[in-house]
Symmetry: C2
DNA sequence: GCTGTCTAAAATGTCAGACAATTAAACGCG
DNA sequence: CGCGTTTAATTGTCTGACATTTTAGACAGC
């Protein structure tokens, strides 16, 4: 392993890239140990500090883990669903907030994707998923629930819907769309009337999934999309007036 | 800013987390400058090396950029779509390969999501999107095209379909599902007969989008899903026999 | 006053060397 | 054989130095 001496970029970035490429291309397998920091420093002909900075970059991307001690070192890490989930949600949320994505676009994306899950979820949802949905609906109906908690519960309900499809890849990809909407949803003030409508639609969705009636689920989701969009518009208008 | 001295984790990880939280929570705005490395070292009461390792972690997540020179330093970075795309694709691909996700699951997720885009794409696709699809279909029909190139073109076709929906959030979320399938698709040997069927379905999809007939697009996509699944199964069987 | 040049300062990037902390294996001893 | 102890390997942290890059400001000349 050598690096391009002509390249102007940071050495630590170049080294990180070289190792990253080796991992991604499959040259290195999960749990395989990288050479020690000193060995890498020798190989790349840089100091140990530079190697360390490169390794920290990889650690930040969950590509490696490090262990101290005699048999320690840096090991190629198996990317876990949970970590990827968390990272995906963080990135999606940042992407939306930093680029000022409008409510409409995010909302449309979210519900389009959710509707894609509905048929699968109606076929495969387990009693567990249904129970979670019912529990969240119940929670949403509780008096005195803050807007923020209402949103939390809303996300939990929809996550159960998505997970009901029993496809982890689907759940992963949708996590970004559903959770990243939350900051935008939190701008909305939910009146009791708003909540009643949403709870009604949630109930229809849960009923449809329980009956494995995917057409009804789709209809209710479509209505929920439209309703959420109007709520969002109102919130944006109210925000603009202030 | 202080860090928990009781915590056993790496100092650089703790410091990275502290700064990351400040950025994500919105305490720091885009292009705002962080204190210099020496100042951070003083604030957190650690050495400059440790601060640097923390900053490299953040740089790896595209949260900051650094500039050298008198007015240089670390600045909060606006996360760009392109970078987020690239990262999302890398992560999704790794997630699938490292966790041995089966072809069926990935395929189901991909096409379920694509079908969610079809109605929007049929309403909004521009002549550009249609032209890209036609061009890729043409490319797929070229004789002597390697399997890998065929897959590349397939991905480009589907990306145009998704982008046709004109919703960047949708494009972003789907990029992971579509592109991450590529390594799995590359395991398949596409006979001329296979290719003809796929090209036929692609043509039907492009025609349907051009006519803004979303029902036809959905039907063709459903058929393509089923066909891809059978191809995948055959490939897995052939792989198992060897 | 304007302009171009030079210099100093500030900041990141890199290096070398040291020591601390941790861990597992090797070793010795009863 | 079993059980502490030592030892070696490795990462984590610190210190100080120097290189490189970039800008602001001083300064000279017109």
């Amino acid at each position: 392993m050598k690096i391009d001496p002509k390249n102007k970029a940071d050495l630590s970035a170049q080294i990180a890239k070289a190792i990253r490429d080796a991992i991604i291309s499959g040259d290195m397998n999960v749990d395989e140990r990288l050479p020690s920091e000193s060995e890498l420093a020798d190989q790349f002909e840089v100091s140990r500090s530079t190697v360390r900075e490169a390794l920290k970059r990889l650690a930040a991307q969950n590509l490696i883990r490090t262990q101290r001690g005699a048999t320690g070192g840096a090991f190629v890490r198996r990317l876990s669903y949970d970590e990827a989930y968390a990272q995906h949600i963080t990135t999606s949320t940042l992407l939306l907030s930093m680029n000022a994505v409008d409510f409409e676009t995010a909302c449309e994306a979210r519900f389009a994707l959710e509707r894609a899950c509905a048929p699968l979820s109606s076929a495969r949802r387990t009693p567990d998923h249904l129970a979670t949905m019912r529990a969240e609906i119940h929670r949403q109906a509780q008096p005195g629930l803050s807007d923020e908690r209402f949103c939390d519960s809303d996300v939990a309900f929809h996550r159960a819907l998505v997970d009901g499809a029993g496809n982890p890849v689907l759940s992963y990809q949708l996590a970004g769309a559903v959770e990243a909407m939350q900051p935008l949803m939190n701008m909305i003030t939910f009146t009791q009337r708003n909540r009643d409508v949403i709870i009604g639609l949630h109930t229809r969705i849960a009923d449809a999934l329980e009956m494995q009636n995917s057409a009804d689920a789709d209809t209710a989701l479509a209505e929920l999309t439209a309703y959420t969009l109007t709520l969002g518009e109102e919130a944006m208008e109210a925000r603009a007036r202030r």
